[in-house]
């Protein structure tokens, strides 16, 4: 999943990004509200983590502007302002969840995962397609009960395609969702990842991760 963290505290911003990357997400960061809003408008994110008290533009204004611009990415408000009024105000402005500082990192990661799932209409942490299972909590995949040994990138690609089966995603779209702003992108990295993922899925890998020539890749549910 591709996430955006908008947080003015350098330590918090960097540590949350590290934790999310360790959890298999792709993370972009912004250090003030204006930059955060610009990034949210420029690229689709599966979840936006937004601080409220920030320089240049506060988080609630960023949230309002995002919703006004039609950006429907789930938003987790992360703030030291933790009164009921603040929470109600944040949720009414269009936030999907609210977490007061200080917080437990595990809870933060669980909430981000839940928001990402809900953003794709998936309520269970386990995504099942035929005999293929993806556990978004443990970041593990299995086929017919046998675990698949996937790299973080392969897991990310599989989860991206599984969340929207049948929908063709171009290489550009896949790149945007799998790489953060600072990541280096090689021209054939997507094709290479798809190749390795197909092999790990089994002999029918190319029937699960299908190619539509000139358009991109899509996921097809494997037969049981």
């Amino acid at each position: 999943m591709k996430l955006l963290i908008v947080e003015d505290s350098k330590h918090l911003r960097e540590d949350l990004a590290k934790a999310l990357r360790h959890s298999g997400h792709v993370v972009d960061v912004a250090e003030d509200g204006e930059e955060g809003l610009w990034m949210a408008k420029e690229s689709p994110y599966d979840t936006v983590v937004l601080d409220i008290m920030m320089p240049k533009m506060d988080g609630l204004t960023v949230l309002s502007e995002m919703r006004r611009a039609g950006i429907q990415s789930p938003v987790l408000l992360l703030t030291a302002r933790n009164t009921v009024d603040d929470r109600v105000q944040g949720l009414r402005k269009g936030a999907d969840d609210y977490l007061g500082k200080p917080f437990d990192l595990a809870e933060f990661l669980a909430r981000v995962d839940a928001l990402c799932r809900r953003g794709h209409g998936q309520h269970s942490p386990v995504i099942t397609a035929g005999d293929l299972e993806l556990n978004t909590n443990s970041k593990e995949a299995s086929r017919s009960g046998k675990p698949l040994d996937l790299t973080a990138r392969e897991y990310a690609l599989l989860s991206l395609l599984m969340l929207e089966p049948g929908k063709v995603l171009s290489r550009m779209q896949i790149e945007e969702r799998l790489y953060d702003e600072s990541g280096s992108r090689m021209s054939n990295v997507i094709d290479s990842t798809v190749y390795h993922l197909r092999n790990k899925l089994g002999p029918d890998g190319s029937e699960i991760i299908c190619t539509r020539r000139g358009q991109g890749y899509f996921f097809q549910i494997p037969a049981l």
């Binding site: 505290s9 540590d15 934790a19 008290m53 320089p55 200080p102 437990d104």
Partner: protein, 479 residues
């Protein structure tokens, strides 16, 4: 509880009743006097008729008596019902009397001589009578003036009517009935008018005081979420205008105070919770992913800890200064070495930001106060100046009357910002994420200054290099 409605009603209605009562009494008495005057007048006419009868009887009929015949009163008049008379000679001998009086005698006039006597009396049968009595001298007739009541003088040539005392009485039943009707009329009209006035007063008060009720309702609807409410509508009555004006002013102050408190709460939460969150996240991260336990982790953790330490120390210092009564001894503090020492710690940072610095502090310059507090003041002011002066800008330190002044060029600071600078945890928007400052520096400067009898002020002024921020710490006037 005092009610304006009740107070006005309590004054108006009894007042109106009193006025009506006095008016009614005057009207009644006037009417009564007029009625009695009319009765007296009729009685005088009757007395004249009796006197005419007496004269004609004394002359007897004959030629040349036409005038007497013409002036003789008809007998029917003398026997008119409800009218009584009695005639005496001057010796008190009864000469004539109404049959209706039967055995009752009218009283002889109390007034002596020729004066007209008027009385009201009650017969044993409870009949109320109005009497007029008059004494006539012998030989005169026409000189008795019924209007003025002056009788004719006795004496004169013989052959005239004899001297008599005539008393005429008239039944007052009709007059009393008319007066009673008048009294009832006055009373009834008064009651109706008072009742009407009470109703009108109630309506008028209700309508007139409605804006007050509306204002009370508007005030009672104010809660912490509607502190932007104002009560002036431009249509309120003149009497309420000052009240509404002062209420609006009060609301403005309350709103500002509330916003300040809310901002303070939010800033406090941010300043205290953010480093705790940073520390906790860092520890959770290191615990879950051991590869994060590197040198950078320890350096960052120590930095966060130091920042929290600074905030706590400053808050404790502020609390200490707030509780101080300022009575600890002051001394003469030599400024030059203190300024030099403070600036030496910041020179490198200032040079890195290419700041131009001018420090004018004579070697022998002193200031009254406490060494440690002046150290705090200078350290905070210089530190702020170095960090918030625009890159390549200038810092100017000088002595001023009864204190010190520090000026530095700034960008993006507004007059509104300057007004809030001494609030705790206040920071200009752009510096919110700055971990070197917590927004307590200027609060501490103000507290230190107050403790020594000084006062810190901040202002913005135009400068050739742009906007210049000026902060002065001066001795309080009169201390």
């Amino acid at each position: 509880m005092i009610s304006i409605r009740r107070r006005i009603s309590a004054w108006m209605l009894p007042g109106l009743a009193a006025v009506w009562l006095v008016g009614g009494v005057v009207v009644y008495r006037t009417h009564r006097s007029a009625t009695f005057a009319a009765i007296d007048s009729e009685n005088m006419v009757f007395i004249r008729m009796i006197r005419m009868n007496q004269r004609s009887q004394s002359r007897g009929p004959g030629p040349g008596r036409g005038r007497g015949n013409r002036e003789r009163a008809p007998a029917s008049l003398l026997s008119e019902e409800g009218v009584f008379y009695q005639v005496w000679d001057l010796d008190g001998k009864l000469l004539a009397k109404s049959k209706h009086l039967a055995e009752f005698d009218l009283p002889l006039p109390e007034a002596k001589g020729e004066a007209i006597d008027r009385q009201t009396l009650v017969l044993p049968s409870q009949l109320r009578l109005r009497t007029v009595g008059m004494t006539f001298g012998a030989g005169h007739f026409n000189d008795a003036d019924p209007e003025s009541g002056r009788p004719a003088h006795a004496g004169g040539s013989g052959g005239g009517p004899m001297a008599v005392i005539i008393v005429v009485a008239r039944d007052l039943s009709d007059a009393d009935a008319r007066l009673k009707t008048t009294l009832f009329g006055i009373t009834g009209t008064g009651l109706v008018i008072i009742a009407g006035m009470a109703f009108l007063l109630r309506m008028a008060l209700r309508n007139s005081l409605r804006p007050l009720d509306d204002l009370a309702a508007a005030v009672s609807n104010v809660d912490p979420s509607s502190l932007d409410a104002r009560f002036s509508t431009g249509k309120e009555p003149l009497e309420l205008t000052p009240v509404v004006f002062h209420l609006d002013s009060l609301m403005e102050r309350v709103e500002k105070g509330f916003l300040r408190e809310r901002r303070f709460g939010a800033d406090l939460a941010h300043e205290l919770r953010t480093p705790i969150a940073e520390m906790r996240t860092k520890l959770d991260l290191a615990a879950k992913w051991p590869e994060e336990r590197n040198e950078e982790f320890f350096i960052a953790t120590r930095e966060i800890n130091m920042r929290m330490h600074r905030v706590v120390d400053t808050m404790l210092e502020l609390a200490h200064l707030e509780n101080s009564d300022g009575s600890s001894p002051v001394e003469s503090v030599l400024l030059a070495p203190l300024v030099a020492e403070t600036w030496a710690l910041l020179r490198e940072r200032a040079e890195a930001r290419q700041l131009k610095t001018e420090i004018h502090c004579p070697d022998d310059a002193t200031v009254r106060g406490k060494f440690e507090l002046w150290k705090h003041i200078l350290a905070n002011l210089f530190s702020n100046a170095v960090d918030y002066t625009s890159v390549g800008g200038s810092i100017h330190f000088d002595l001023c009357e009864d204190g010190i002044a520090l000026c530095n060029t700034v960008d993006g600071l507004s007059t509104g910002d300057v007004g809030q600078m001494f609030e705790r945890f206040w920071r200009a928007d752009g510096s919110r994420s700055d971990s070197n400052h917590s927004g307590l520096g200027l609060s501490l400067v103000q507290a230190c200054a107050h403790d020594m009898g000084f006062h810190a002020t901040a202002s913005l002024k135009k400068h050739e290099d742009g906007e210049q921020f000026v902060i002065c710490v001066r001795r309080k006037t009169g201390k």
